[in-house]
Subunit: 343 residues, 2 copies
Amino acid sequence: MVTIYDIAKKANVSAMTVSRVINNSDKISKQTREKVEAIIKELNYIPNSSARSLISKKTNILSLMITDIANPFFTSVARGAEDKALQMGYQLLLCNSDENIEKESKYIDMLISTGTDGVLIAPASDLSKKNIHKLTKYKIPFVLIDRYISDLKCDQVLSDNETTTRKLIEHLIELGHKRIAIINGPLDIATSRERHQAFCDTLTLHGLEVNKNWIHQSELFRDSDVTDIVSNLLELPAEKRPTAIFATNNFLGLNTVKALKKHKINIPEDIAVVCYDGVPNYTENEPFLTAAEQPSYNFGYLGAQMLIERIENTCPEVPRKIVLPAELYIRESSNYTIKDLKR
Amino acid sequence: MVTIYDIAKKANVSAMTVSRVINNSDKISKQTREKVEAIIKELNYIPNSSARSLISKKTNILSLMITDIANPFFTSVARGAEDKALQMGYQLLLCNSDENIEKESKYIDMLISTGTDGVLIAPASDLSKKNIHKLTKYKIPFVLIDRYISDLKCDQVLSDNETTTRKLIEHLIELGHKRIAIINGPLDIATSRERHQAFCDTLTLHGLEVNKNWIHQSELFRDSDVTDIVSNLLELPAEKRPTAIFATNNFLGLNTVKALKKHKINIPEDIAVVCYDGVPNYTENEPFLTAAEQPSYNFGYLGAQMLIERIENTCPEVPRKIVLPAELYIRESSNYTIKDLKR
DNA sequence: CAACATAGTGTTATCGTTAACATTCTAACT
DNA sequence: AGTTAGAATGTTAACGATAACACTATGTTG
């Protein structure tokens, strides 16, 4: 390994002078600088980050803690974060928590040990607060993305859950739906709670029934038990059966559709489906699912930007909060007014 | 920050003793060990990786260099790599090269500086050889995934391009197709070349025409110019127009379908489409595209495993090569024998 | 009982870089 | 000429952990 001493020796200067050249310090004669730079190039010198970090306490590594990179929402978040990170001279460490508090905790310990400069985190659940506190203790800046945690003063990039949910539900109401069900994630995730609340509020506002038989939470924000929930809904007597389902994230939406199809339920004629989150248009057919699509790339991009500003102290001290709007795409899965229904 | 000296002081031992406790050295009395461990816990001590790396030259960081995490193939590779990495006590750094040699080169320099323990790399193109040589120079182990580079002696996890391509093409031939086109990625990527070669070989083997009007390369393994290529194919006189198209990766396949639909071409009645790579079944409708699906998760998982074995020197010195088979899923986009065709 | 093995612990130097202070040298001013 | 400012460079110590060696008690052996 080539070190500054090798450079220094060959250039007949001290190591410190080499260090100054590397760090673009100004107090260097043009002559010396050029001599040193030539030798750096010649020997293919690359500075050792460990040694630098040891002194500077900076690693130029950001960490992205998400629940699962395979969720297309987070894939896109990761891409955004990575783009901003690279642009600002940082590298990005990837951590999948799988919505598991212990895994998250173990990861946080590793991150502290590695000495990450900051963490972009979509917490596994409310219980993540304990894990996040460890970051605070070690003075590692972090930015919450997608899921907020109450009583935590920090930078955040969140979705406008209230407005977006209301738009989705009002879209259904306009179509004439009166019995609307929700298939939600676990209520110890802020996102779920907010979407739940907005769902109930919107129904109430429009004088519609909020029936607890139509309110369901899946164990995870994944495919876990959607099939059962859908079966449950379908077992309700005809006049008590929902005519529309609101799924609160992409996986839940897709699995709801799958479950309904398995039961030979026609969408949207028998039951309409709307969904929070989009899914990438990998489908060759026209997109089908009515969805509120989030600017996921920007969750990562802006999150990373805020994080870096926090790390480099180029922003006001007060926590900042960015709320990103989602865009409603009305598609086939809901495109049927209730009066068209055959029932 | 809590250091071993803080622990040592409080425990009335030397720093070295603390270090021994941390590293599970055996020559420590049970009594001392317990005392030190208690204080470590009490003070919430977490070892400083930079300091450790400086001595040990190990960072416990693996790097994953792929072209784009947003490509579902690589998303899944990343997930596999991360799982194995965590399991073995490593963290994973994410790098998107965007098939860009300069970006890749810049990244490699950063990785060398950070001192990554090893790199899992899907090279941007044949020109990546220069970048990879830098890794060799710094004695950083690496494993090639998905795309090989000629004359490079190293561990590899590759797809069985020859067999898989042949299976796809023979599937078309069995259906009665005689005029088959290929929409491929750039030929400076090994994967493209192999699929190209296998495509030609299979046609020849079956006595079918290999017409250069039916052979096309897109500028990138992406959506870049597929629309033009498809238009080109469609402009051929009826008797010279291909009845089937082989797209050599997921993005090319999807864009081929899109382009055909825009021209109101029926798939598979007018033109059948088959595709190398699967796409995640995010679609609520039945999957449509006939595809050879690769075990992408295992590209990452096995790749990381080989890499770690190489790093920890727990494997034979000779380069190892894993060739993973793809599985053929016959679906609607090709499910039409030629004699059914109306033409 | 001397000689020596060994378990347990401490000391010192080192990894590669940089902060802080020290030194040298030139040029400018009184 | 003597003083001084400041530009350019060097020296030393430190960051936190650990390798290599040194030391101190024990106990063990012939």
